[in-house]
Symmetry: C2
Subunit: 778 residues, 2 copies
C-alpha cells in the first residue's frame, strides 16, 4: 500500500539533518537552499549523494548509516522486558562489566605489543645505520636507513590500500562520529583492526612524522566494537548471554570505553582517556558510562604498569627504556611569576595561529590530493606513501649535515645517563658524524624516533643544547612533513607531530626568554611542553582532556595553571579561523555528523520545511508484496504504520516500524491468509525478541536475502507487534533547531512530524518521519 | 474558561515525575501506588505535599520549583531572535565570558579570605592555649580553648538559625539539585552567601570536625547565581546587556561554573573542579559549558596562586603556611608491586563498609533529630550546636592525656622544618604536656586544626610516629564526632571529616603492612592517602572527580592507578548498601530530584497513567476574569492553549502558555474589548521579550500583585503571542520511563501528553501537561 497514490495526505521527511556536503566551504545561502531539499533527499540523486557519505580514503564505497538510541517500545520487546528475570538482569550487568574489563586488557596488551615492535624495529634500524656511520661509510648508512624506512612504509601502505582502507589516517574522526551516532561501515572490522596495528607499527618505525596515539584510540574502539558484536552467529561463535548487548546503545557504550582505553594506553593517561571520551561524546553522555570508562582505563593503567615493569627486566629486546611515552618534566620550576605570563601568551597565540594554519593547509592538501588519487587508483596511493617516506628519510638523514659540530658541555662529558656525546640509538647529544667530544644538535632532533625527539625537546637541565638555526630548520621540516604525511594511506596519528612542532617553537620561545631573564627560573624543557600544549590546543581544540593528558604525560601538576592558560588562548585564537582538526576531517570525509549546536539558519525554519516527499506508510496488517516492493524501491529505515480510527474512520498514527524488523518478519514467513485474520492468531510467542537483535554493522539482512513465491506475495503480514508504538513526535511548526536538539540529545534516528491542524481533506493528523542520516543503497 | 465543566475531554497531568516522598525508605509497592496518584498531585493535599518539598533544616518554608530549559518558541521571542543584531549576539557572548571570569575571581578571593580568617583565628586560639599549657595552668588552657570554640560555633549557629537557615550543612546536595533542574528558593540568596562565609569560618576555626570545602562549593554557586540575576531591577542596578542572561539556561550554566570554581578554590584543584561539575550535572551537559567551566577554574588557579604567594611574604598574619590545603606526598614510593594490591583491596573494602555505614547512621540521626528539633524550635538548634562544640573541645583537649609521652626519633631532634617536639600551633610531633625531647602522638591528631591533622597523617617519612592505640582512639572519636556534627545548624563540609577518618585507618593498614614487609617501599603517608580515597569513595561515590581532586591535592600522579583501584572497590562496595551521601541528603531534604535512571516501575506504566485531573486550558483569546480565577485557584506553571480547528471545528492544541508570561500580560493590561477583536490590533511591538525575562528565584510576579477592576475582568486578553507553539509532546501510550528520559535529557518542566486515538466524543486530540515538580502555593 506504500506509495504516493494512496498516502498523498502523508508527507515524508527524509531530511539529512546535517548533510555533510553542506560543510564549511559553502556560503550560508547554499546551505539554506541545499538543506533538506536538494541534497540530503530524494531517491533520484541517491547515488551522487552517496558519494559524499563514504570515507574518501577508503576504496570500498559503503554507505554510512546512523545509530539509533531510541528505546523501541513494541509488544515483543515489552513482553521480553516483563518476563526478564532478575538473574537475567544480573547477567546483563555482569556481561557489560566483563566486556569493559576485556577491552581494557586487550587494548593495553595491543598497545604494549605495538610499542615493543616499534622500539625494536626502529632500534635495530638506528643501530645498523650508526654502525655504518662509525666506519665512515655514510652512503651505505643512508641506503640502510632509507631502505628500512621505505620498506616499512610500503608494507604499511600496501596493507592499507589492499586490505583495510578504513585503517588509513588516525581514525579519531570516525570514532568521534560513531560515538555521536554515525555508523561508518568497516571502520570497526577485524580487517581494519589488523591493518591498523601492523600499519601503525610500519609507519612509526618507518620514521614518518606520525604518531601511534590516534591509531591506538581507533584500535581500542575496534576491539570494543568487535567484542560488542557478540561473536559470530554465522560461525556459531555466539552465546545466549551476549544477546543483551546486541543493540546500538550498549554497543556504543562499549566503544566509548574502548576509545577511553585507547587514549589511556597511548599516553599512559587513564584519567585523560576518560575525559577524552567524555569530551568527544557530547551528544549522549550518561552517568554510568563515566564509571565504566573509568574502570576500563584503570585496568589499562595496571596492565601497562605490569608490562613495562616486565620489559624493564629485559624481556622486550630494545624496548626496555622509553617505549610508552612518559616525558618526565617534574622537579623543575615549580615557582613562576607574573613575568612568565608574557611568553605564555605568546605561545598561546603562536599555537592558535600555527595550529589553525595547519588545519587549513592540511584540509586543502587532502581535498586536492584526494580527488587526484581517486582518478589514479591504488598504485598512486602507494607511490605517494613511498615518496613521502623517501623525502622524510632524506630530510632526517641529510639535514643534520648542515649543522656545525658543537663541543659537549663540560658537566656532561662524564659518562652517565645523559652523557655527551651519545652514539646509540637514542640520546640527547647525538654524535652523528662529529669527532669525539662534539655533538650534532640537529641530529638529536632529526635522527631519532619521534618519541625520543620529543623527550630531547622536553628534557630539563639542557638549556642551550640546541641552536636557534637548528630549531627553526627542524620546525620548518617537521611542520611541512607532518602536513604531507597526514593523509597518505597509512595509519597516522597527529598527536606526536603536533607535539614535535609545538615543542620546537616552545623551546625557541624559551631560549628567547632566557636571553631576557638571565637568572630567572626558566627551563627550556618547560617551554617546550607549553609549546606542545599550544599547538595541540590550536589544532585539535580539545581542552580539558588535552590538559589532563599533558599533565599525566609529564607528571608535573604544578604546571597546570600555565598549561590551562596556554590551551585557552590557543583554542580561542584557533576558533577564530576554522574548526578543529577532527571536525574538519569529519567534514572532509563526508561523515554526516551532527554538531553540538544546530546551524543558525535552522532556527528560522520549521520541522515542516524539512519535509519533502510523499509519505510511504503501512497498515497494521499489510500485503507482503506491497512491503517487499517498498523495501526494494526505497532505502528508508523506518515506516510509519497508519491505522484507521475506529469511530471516525480517519487515519491515525499507530507506530513506527523498522526496516530491519520487517526483514526479520519476512524471513520468518509467518504470513496470514487475509487482512482480517490477525485478530484470531496467537503468534506473539513465535517470534522472540532475540531474533531482532541488531547484528554488527553491515551484516544485517537485506531485502535481497528474502525470496518469496508469488503466492506468498499475495498473503498478508501482521506488523503491528513489532511497531514502536510510542515514537518521538514533534509538531510541524516546531523550529528545526528545536527538533535538531531532540535528535542529538536523545540519539534518535527517526522523528515523526505531526501537523498542528487538519488542513487537507479533514484529516486530523499527518505523519512523517525523518532519518538521522541517509541510508545507503545496498 | 478553565475548569473541568467545559474541559472534561481534556485531562491534566500534574505528575511529579519523581515525588521525593517516595524515597528509598518505602517499599516498591508503596511507590507504585503513590506515584502520580496519591502524593505528587491534587490541590487537595497540596499543603501536605508541600511540607516535603522544603529543606528540612531551613525555617522559612518555601516551595521548591523546577527550572525550565526548554526553548520557548512564541511569536515574541521569535521576533526577538529574528531582529537580534550581530552586535547583540556578540554582547551576549561577551557578557557570558565576563561573568564566568568574575565568578572565578570572586570565588578565589572569597576562598582566600575564609582561609586567612580561619588560619588566624585558629592559630591565635592554639597560641594562647599553648601559652597557658607551658606555664602548667592546664585548666585555664582548657577554658581558653573551649571558650574560643564554643563562642565561634555559637556565632556561626546564631547566624545560621536566625539569618540564613539555607546556609546550614554543606550545600552540595542543593547545588547538585539546582544543576539538575530543581530550584530551591533562598539557597542562592545574598543572606545565605553571607552566613555561609562567616558561618564556615566560625565552625572550622571553632574546631568542629567539619571542612570548609563543601561550603566553598556552595559559596561559588551563590556568587554565580547572584551575578546571574543580573543586578537588581528594584534598585535600578541592572543593565540592558544583562537581559540576555535572564533565563534558566544561562543562569544554570553560570552556576555550574560557580560550583566548579568552588571546588577548584577549595582544593586548589582546577581540573577536579571542572570534573566535579561534570559528574554532578549529569542531566543536561553541553560541550561549550565544559569550556567555560575550565576557564573559570583556570582563573581561580591563577588568583589563588597569586594570593598565596602574597601571603607567603607575610601579609596574612598566621596564614603564611598551609592555608589552602595541599598535602604534598610527591617523591615517595613511585614503585609498587603486586603485593601492594592486598592492602589496596582491604582499604577499598573498609572504605566501602565504613563509608556506607557513615551515610546510613548520619541519615538516621538527621531524620530523627530533624523531627525533634522542629518541635523544639530555634533555641534547641543553637543548643545542639553548642553541645557538639563542647564535646568536640573536651575530646580534642582531653583525650591526648590518655597517650603516653614518647621519645622523639633521633633523626628529628635537630631543629628544622620537621623538628621534634614542636610547641607551636601546628606541627607533627606535638609536645603537649610532655617533657622536653618527648612528644604526644595523640595531640598531633586531636590538638590541631583539621587540615594540620590531615597533613600529619599524610606526611611522608614519619613511619611509626603514631601508636596503634592512638590511631584507633582517634578514628573512633573522629568518626563519631563527624556523625554528630554533620547536620547541626552550621555550615559544615564533609570532605575533611571523611579524609580524617580514611587517613587514620589507612595509616593503621599501612602500619600493619609495615610489620609484614619490613623492607618494602612502604610509606604510611601513602596508605593514609589511599585510606582517605577509600572513605570518600565509599561515602560520596564520586569517582573521576574525586580521583583528580586527590591527585591535585597530593601532587603525585604516580599513585593514580592505586587511587583508581581503591575508589572503584569502595564505591562498588558502598553501592551495595545505600546511595551516596549527597543523594541521601537530597532525599532527606525532600528535594524532588530526578535520578539518572527512571525507577524500574516506570517502564511498566504509560504516560497516560500519570494523568489524573481534568485539564485546565485557555483559548487563544481568553476572558481576563477566567485567567485570574485559574491563576488564583491553581498552582500550575503552564496551561495548554486550545484552539478550534477551522474546518472540523474540533479542538486542537495551539500551544503552551506559562504562568509567568500570563502574569506579565495581566500586569501590562493591554486588554481587548471582545473575543474577536484581536485580529485587528497590532500590539506585538508593545510587548518586548525583555519584559518576560525570568527574575531571580522567588522574586517573580505573583497573582497577588495583579489588581484589576471589575470592568477589566470582563475584558479579554490575547495570549496567543506568548504561547509556546511547539511544546514537546508524547503520545499517551509512551512508557513513563521514556517520557522520564525526555524530561531529564532535555531539562523540561512541562510535557504535553497527546492521545493516540479519539476515544471520547469523537475528539481527536486530548492534551495534558505535567510539571517537572510541583509548584508551590504562594
Amino acid at each position: 500500500m506504500g506509495g504516493s497514490e494512496e498516502g498523498g495526505e502523508y508527507r515524508d521527511v527524509e531530511a539529512t539533518v546535517a548533510p555533510p556536503q553542506l560543510g564549511m566551504y559553502e556560503p550560508l545561502l547554499e546551505k539554506e537552499k541545499g538543506f533538506a531539499i536538494a541534497d540530503g533527499n530524494g531517491n533520484g540523486n541517491g547515488n551522487s549523494a552517496n558519494g559524499h557519505h563514504v570515507a574518501m580514503i577508503g576504496t570500498k564505497v559503503s554507505p554510512i548509516e546512523s545509530l539509533d538510541f531510541e528505546l523501541v517500545e513494541n509488544e515483543i520487546f515489552r513482553q521480553d522486558w516483563r518476563t526478564r528475570k532478575k538473574s537475567e538482569i544480573l547477567q546483563y550487568v555482569a556481561v557489560k562489566w566483563a566486556f569493559v574489563f576485556l577491552v581494557g586488557i586487550l587494548t593495553a596488551i595491543t598497545a604494549l605489543g605495538i610499542n615493543i615492535a616499534v622500539e625494536n624495529i626502529a632500534g635495530m634500524k638506528f643501530l645498523w645505520t650508526v654502525k655504518f656511520m662509525q666506519s665512515d661509510s655514510f652512503v651505505m648508512a643512508f641506503v640502510v636507513y632509507a631502505g628500512f624506512n621505505v620498506t616499512l612504509v610500503t608494507v604499511a601502505s600496501l596493507l592499507c590500500v589492499y586490505i583495510g582502507p578504513s585503517a588509513a589516517g588516525s581514525g579519531i574522526p570516525e570514532v568521534k562520529a560513531y560515538l555521536n551516532g554515525v555508523d561508518t561501515p568497516n571502520i570497526f572490522s577485524i580487517k581494519t583492526l589488523f591493518v591498523k596495528i601492523l600499519g601503525s607499527i610500519g609507519s612509526v618505525a618507518g620514521g614518518l612524522i606520525v604518531g601511534k596515539e590516534g591509531p591506538l584510540v581507533h584500535v581500542g574502539s575496534c576491539i570494543a566494537s568487535i567484542l560488542g558484536q557478540g561473536g559470530s552467529v554465522k560461525h556459531g561463535l555466539t552465546c545466549k548471554w551476549l544477546r543483551y548487548l546486541k543493540n546500538d546503545r550498549d554497543r556504543r557504550d562499549l566503544v566509548t570505553c574502548g576509545a577511553a582505553a585507547g587514549v589511556a594506553a597511548a599516553f599512559r593517561a587513564p584519567v585523560g582517556g576518560v575525559l577524552f571520551a567524555m569530551e568527544e561524546v557530547t551528544s549522549w553522555w550518561r552517568g554510568p558510562l563515566l564509571w565504566r570508562a573509568f574502570f576500563t582505563t584503570a585496568v589499562v593503567a595496571v596492565v601497562l604498569r605490569t608490562g613495562i615493569a616486565w620489559c624493564k627486566q629485559g624481556h622486550c629486546g630494545l624496548a626496555g627504556e622509553g617505549g610508552l611515552i612518559i616525558f618526565d618534566v617534574s622537579g623543575v620550576q615549580d615557582n613562576y611569576g607574573l613575568n612568565e605570563l608574557v611568553p605564555v601568551v605568546v605561545l598561546g597565540l603562536l599555537g592558535g595561529v600555527l595550529g589553525s594554519l595547519f588545519n587549513q593547509i592540511n584540509a586543502k592538501i587532502i581535498m586536492w590530493s584526494g580527488g587526484w588519487l581517486k582518478k589514479k587508483g591504488k598504485f598512486a596511493k602507494i607511490a605517494q606513501a613511498v615518496i613521502v617516506a623517501l623525502i622524510t628519510s632524506i630530510c632526517s638523514f641529510g639535514l643534520p649535515w648542515l649543522a656545525k659540530c658543537r663541543p659537549c658541555p663540560d658537566h656532561l662529558t662524564i659518562p652517565g645517563e645523559k652523557s655527551c656525546p651519545s652514539y646509540g640509538r637514542a640520546g640527547n647529544f647525538k654524535n652523528f658524524h662529529c669527532p669525539d667530544g662534539y655533538y650534532n644538535d640537529l641530529a638529536g632532533l632529526f635522527f631519532n624516533t619521534n618519541e625520543d625527539t620529543v623527550r630531547n625537546l622536553f628534557s630539563k637541565g639542557t638549556n642551550g643544547e640546541f641552536e636557534f638555526s637548528s630549531l627553526f630548520l627542524y620546525l620548518g621540516s617537521a611542520y611541512s612533513l607532518a602536513l604531507l604525511t597526514y593523509g597518505i594511506a597509512v595509519p597516522s596519528g597527529l598527536f606526536v607531530p603536533a607535539i614535535l612542532c609545538g615543542a620546537t617553537y616552545g623551546r625557541i620561545v624559551g631560549m628567547v626568554m632566557g636571553m631576557f631573564y638571565k637568572n630567572g627560573p626558566i627551563d627550556e624543557g618547560v617551554y617546550a611542553l607549553l609549546g606542545a600544549a599550544s599547538f595541540l590546543g590550536g589544532s585539535m581544540r580539545m581542552t580539558v582532556s588535552l590538559c589532563i593528558i599533558l599533565l599525566e604525560l609529564t607528571n608535573n601538576l604544578l604546571l597546570l595553571p600555565l598549561i590551562m592558560l596556554v590551551l585557552l588562548i590557543s583554542k580561542t585564537v584557533g576558533d577564530c579561523f576554522n574548526d578543529g582538526l577532527y571536525s574538519l576531517h569529519v567534514h572532509i570525509k563526508g561523515i554526516p555528523f551532527l554538531e553540538a549546536h544546530p546551524p543558525r539558519f535552522m532556527s528560522h525554519l520549521t520541522a515542516r520545511d524539512a519535509i519533502t516527499r510523499p509519505l510511504i506508510w503501512f497498515s497494521k496488517v499489510e500485503r507482503v508484496g506491497a512491503i517487499v516492493e517498498v523495501l526494494r524501491s526505497t532505502n528508508h529505515h523506518a515506516f510509519p504504520i497508519v491505522d484507521n480510527d475506529e469511530q471516525s474512520g480517519k487515519p491515525v498514527l499507530f507506530g513506527l516500524v523498522l526496516r530491519s524488523h520487517l526483514l526479520v518478519l519476512l524471513k520468518k514467513k509467518q504470513f496470514l491468509e487475509d487482512r482480517y485474520s490477525y485478530a484470531e492468531k496467537e503468534q506473539s510467542s513465535l517470534v522472540s525478541s532475540a531474533e531482532f537483535a541488531k547484528p554488527g554493522s553491515g551484516k544485517g539482512l537485506t531485502i535481497d536475502d528474502i525470496e518469496l513465491t508469488a503466492v506468498e506475495e499475495e498473503m498478508f503480514l501482521d506488523i503491528h507487534e513489532v511497531a514502536n508504538t510510542s515514537p518521538y513526535t514533534v509538531v510541524e511548526t516546531m523550529s528545526l533547531a528545536k527538533a535538531y536538539t531532540l535528535f542529538r540529545q536523545l540519539g534518535l534516528r527517526h522523528l515523526c512530524v505531526v501537523p498542528r491542524t487538519s488542513e487537507v481533506h479533514n484529516i486530523t493528523i499527518i505523519y512523517a518521519y525523518s532519518e538521522h542520516c541517509r541510508p545507503g543503497v545496498r
